[in-house]
Symmetry: C2
């Protein structure tokens, strides 16, 4: 989280803009919170360049809940195509089987999710309700640098993207997207807020089993206040949106993120000790998994990193090794410090 945002939240904690109330004490239907909510909507729509025919919903439950909520809302009980490119899309397709037929149109499981299957090779289903991709796989470090153009492939199903872990790190080509969802906790704010951006024509087709509180159409019709929304999380996310605008918006973030990722990948690629196994055309700018070729050095690597304040470098337990996350709030100087440590460790211990 940007320090500016945290400082502002602390300063406003007991009295928001002279209202005499904390944001935590506001009724979600009062004029104070409505103004916070509306500003957050406007700012996010501007930041992500969301077209007018898309609704922005502020929900709860995280990306994991959306794995069920998406098919409950838009599968119509038909068939949905999934591209399995790592752990998250794998979880998504498993959960969707509760609500619709699932076709694995492509998978990179055979190569350990180190490549992205070429869209021209995807075995898409005629008449599918939607096509699901995880546009950035947090654990495997695989990112779509271009979203697939389903229309060009001769398919008119809406594309669903799980953009939890790279939202607001790069622009989204909405002409190729029907629905985007993500937890806010990586780039947009605190945990407990889920973002769903959905094209209007996809509203109103929920299955009978869809809980009302997660029915996109009901939420859209009630400005995300069909149930009590996570008011404080929306407020903090709104502060992050304003911070992002002050930084120059998503285009400026993308340039920073490209520079950060290039610095780290170049260092890894030039090293004899470290290795990133993902194909260069789909390496994630947000999450960089890497391995020490001599795994016996893992513990001393992590110990030295901690001593330098370089935290949370241990890889996810399902893949092992190391992982560096370069979310928006991470400055270039933070990546430089990591790169300096990588070189120093290799020179002295590798």
């Amino acid at each position: 989280m940007p320090e500016e945002v945290l400082s502002q939240a602390a300063a406003e904690m007991l009295d928001w803009h002279g209202s005499g109330m904390s944001v935590m004490e506001m009724s979600h239907r009062g004029k104070e919170f409505i103004s916070i909510y509306e500003q957050a909507q406007v700012d996010l729509r501007e930041l992500l360049a969301v077209p007018d025919n898309f609704e922005i919903l502020f929900m709860q439950g995280g990306g994991l809940a959306e794995n069920a909520i998406v098919p409950l809302n838009i599968s119509r009980g038909g068939v949905a195509d999934f591209i399995v490119s790592g752990s998250w899309s794998q979880k998504s397709q498993q959960e969707a089987r509760k609500y619709c037929a699932v076709n694995i149109a492509a998978s990179s499981e055979a190569d350990g999710h180190t490549t992205l299957p070429d869209p021209a090779t995807w075995q898409l289903s005629p008449g599918a309700s939607y096509v699901h991709v995880c546009s950035n796989e947090t654990i495997h470090g695989v990112e779509f640098h271009e979203l697939p153009d389903l229309k060009a492939l001769g398919h008119d199903a809406p594309l669903v993207i799980d953009f939890s872990s790279h939202v607001a790190s790069r622009p989204v080509d909405w002409s190729r997207v029907g629905l985007a969802f993500g937890g806010a906790q990586k780039n947009l704010g605190p945990a407990g807020l889920t973002l769903v951006i959905v094209r209007e024509d996809l509203l109103g087709h929920a299955l009978p089993a869809c809980p009302s509180a997660f029915d996109y159409k009901l939420l859209a019709a009630n400005q995300s206040m069909y149930n009590t929304p996570p008011t404080y999380a929306i407020y903090v996310a709104g502060l992050v949106f304003q911070w992002l605008k002050r930084q120059g918006g998503v285009a400026a973030m993308e340039a920073r993120n490209q520079a950060k990722a290039a610095l780290l990948y170049d260092t890894i690629d030039c090293s004899q000790l470290y290795q990133n196994k993902v194909a260069p055309n789909c390496r994630s700018r947000m999450n960089v998994p890497f391995f020490l070729r001599d795994e016996r050095l893992n513990e001393s690597f992590l110990t030295g990193a901690r001593a330098r304040g370089l935290l949370q470098l241990k890889g996810h337990k399902s893949v092992g090794g190391m992982r560096a996350s370069l979310y928006n709030a991470m400055p270039l100087a933070g990546v430089q410090a990591l790169v300096d440590y990588l070189r120093e460790f290799e020179n002295t211990r590798g």
Copy 2:
């Protein structure tokens, strides 16, 4: 929200306990957040005297989402009995019909929800999966001062209570309860956190349509971290739990709440202008709806109240009139100020 809690949250915003991190920046699997989570669990279990054979789950979606999540988890697709005592239980039974058969075992709709049907008259279903009551109806101001003893009525179905709007305002007789749920935003903390306290034998019976992120058994097995939990909301709720303990716990809160409610109801009952229509044996200590016998005075009443800093007194649009909410954080002095205004307004304008 207690001011002490807000002040502490503000002071710890940029650096929690010397960790160098805001709680908003913590990984939910890191040792810092785990310690916050575990302390909140321990404190809440102590405050509410939750027996060991109940799980405490921190969830998302609010009471409204639980209207679906409860039958998805424990109805087993059978029949559930509902006592309709106001707006919230009415909503609950409507939503449950998506997942199971619903029997309205009793309703106070005919008298405008101003009484509570005597449990001895309830038409309970043999073999019901559960019996649902809203133990405090926020809008109609009706509260169960004693939970029904289903066993004594010859029924062994678990009792489900929606205690959203009076949790921690009085003790709960867990010997009569199978499951309690509620949004945290009335008495326990910020919006975006939902509390579910469920007896262990009710876990593991979710319907196939239940989203994994809302499957009580999966949540219990993963310490409410099957999906990313609303970390900051849990932290603030934990601060409220500690504030409640410093106040003397739920028993002390109950005594305060009794005194606050008695002061307000006595003033209304002794007045010629104001009226509360709920039967005395089921009047809510938390939410006191009242009416001016001359409704043409409503606007000048509200204007005068606002001028004295007495806010949010307008009744819910579905019932009209006025409503005072006396949640835990409202001091007796606040109720005294309201009572003083009620008398003054009656004397000068009534």
